[in-house]
């Protein structure tokens, strides 16, 4: 009887804790402040050139206690912007992003990597040009605070990853015009739902 009572007493705070602290939190990515950009070597390594996607949407769920979570980001490939309008058109064509056929690319992960209660990475899958391959994201400067102006709860971070574009079948220009390796950089600001 004593044992049962003790068990009940122990279970009670767990149940309270579970509903408050252990609950999963959901965040919606702020598209304006979360524009993915990329870096690629140009002319066999003479310089690094950059571009970005102006439109993307995403959801993040985090359960810090259970150290679990998910990321889902959809990038609108038609919103590509490079350093030249002429290049934008080339990159949107069949040789590169083929936006007529593939207007979006997606990254999905249900395997966030934690260091303590901070997210430091994510194992997931990138779907581009209809091809899905595993990608590991590195997450830096993950922090959650209140927006000083609108007082909403939010999280911010910087996501990076390196991929070989040829693995998704984007082979044009390799290696002389532009490199195979592409560094992806995604600043993230996400508001708690």
């Amino acid at each position: 009887m004593v044992r049962r009572l003790a068990l009940a007493v122990l279970t009670l705070p767990l149940a309270i804790g579970a509903s408050c602290v252990l609950a999963q939190e959901t965040y919606t990515v702020d598209p304006v402040h979360s524009q993915p950009s990329y870096e690629i070597r140009h002319l066999a390594g003479l310089s690094t050139q950059r571009g970005s996607f102006l439109k993307s949407t995403g959801k993040i769920t985090i359960d810090r206690s259970a150290k679990k979570g998910t990321v889902e980001v959809t990038i609108d490939t038609t919103s590509l912007r490079t350093h030249s309008a002429a290049l934008d058109e080339i990159m949107k064509g069949e040789q590169y992003f083929n936006i007529a056929k593939y207007p979006t690319m997606t990254f999905k992960s249900s395997d966030l990597i934690f260091d303590g209660d901070r997210v430091v990475g994510a194992e997931g899958e990138l779907t581009m040009l209809g091809v899905t391959k595993p990608v590991r994201l590195k997450v830096d400067n993950f922090s959650c605070v209140e927006n000083p102006f609108n007082k909403k709860a939010m999280c911010g971070a910087e996501i990076t990853a390196s991929i070989k574009r040829s693995e998704w079948g984007m082979n044009t220009g390799i290696p002389k015009s532009s490199g195979d390796e592409v560094k992806i950089i995604i600043p993230v600001e996400a508001y708690k739902d």
């Binding site: 304006v32 002319l43 003479l46 310089s47 350093h83 911010g156 015009s177 600043p187």
Partner: protein, 191 residues
């Protein structure tokens, strides 16, 4: 006698090497040399923008380990994450492009490691204020353009400045950070 021949041979070798030792002049390709900046946004994230128009000249004398850089950035060509923000940063609180349509970086002191450029001590003029800035230069490499076959050099120049040093204080410290990281990819054709 043998000493004189050696001296003569050495002088000849130097005379032959002279063309290579001469100063070379390069014109920056504006399309592939668009300056970028990175700044902390409310401490949450790093936001980026760029200038679509910049022009410049680089001179290098690799034998003498001397050279110069002059870059002019068209501040009206700023592109950020949002057209509304573009208008905002062109205004008086930030770049004040109506009054200061350009910013410039000038250096007559390139820093070498061997025959490669690794930096430049110079001056940045922004909002009418001129202050010293040291650029770090990475990956200085020269070659031939694979398609048009012209000789050219490429590099990546970076620097971190405090914008408040040039009087750009709007939004400090919470909305937009004071530290601004500048990244300039450079492709320059030999003249």
């Amino acid at each position: 006698m043998s000493g004189r021949i050696t001296l003569g041979t050495a002088a000849l070798a130097i005379a032959i090497a002279a063309p290579a030792a001469a100063e070379e002049s390069y014109a920056i390709d504006p399309v592939h040399s668009q300056p970028i900046f990175e700044v902390q946004h409310m401490g949450f994230s790093i936001q980026r923008g760029s200038f679509a128009k910049a022009s410049g000249k680089v001179t290098i004398d690799r034998a003498e380990k001397k050279g110069s850089i002059e870059v002019t950035i068209d501040t009206t060509s700023i592109k950020t994450i949002d057209p509304r923000l573009d208008e905002n940063v062109r205004g008086e609180n930030f770049f004040n492009v109506a009054k200061y349509p350009t910013m410039t970086f000038k250096s007559t002191k390139l820093i070498f490691d061997g025959d490669r450029v690794v930096g430049a001590d110079g001056e940045l003029t922004l909002l009418g204020i001129t202050k010293p800035v040291t650029l770090k230069v990475l990956n200085d490499v020269c070659g031939e353009h694979p398609v048009n076959k012209k000789p050219m050099c490429g590099a990546e120049a970076t620097a971190t400045i405090k914008r408040s040093d040039w009087g750009m204080k709007y939004g400090l410290p919470k909305a937009v950070g004071d530290d601004v990281r500048i990244v300039i990819p450079i492709e320059a054709y030999r003249e």
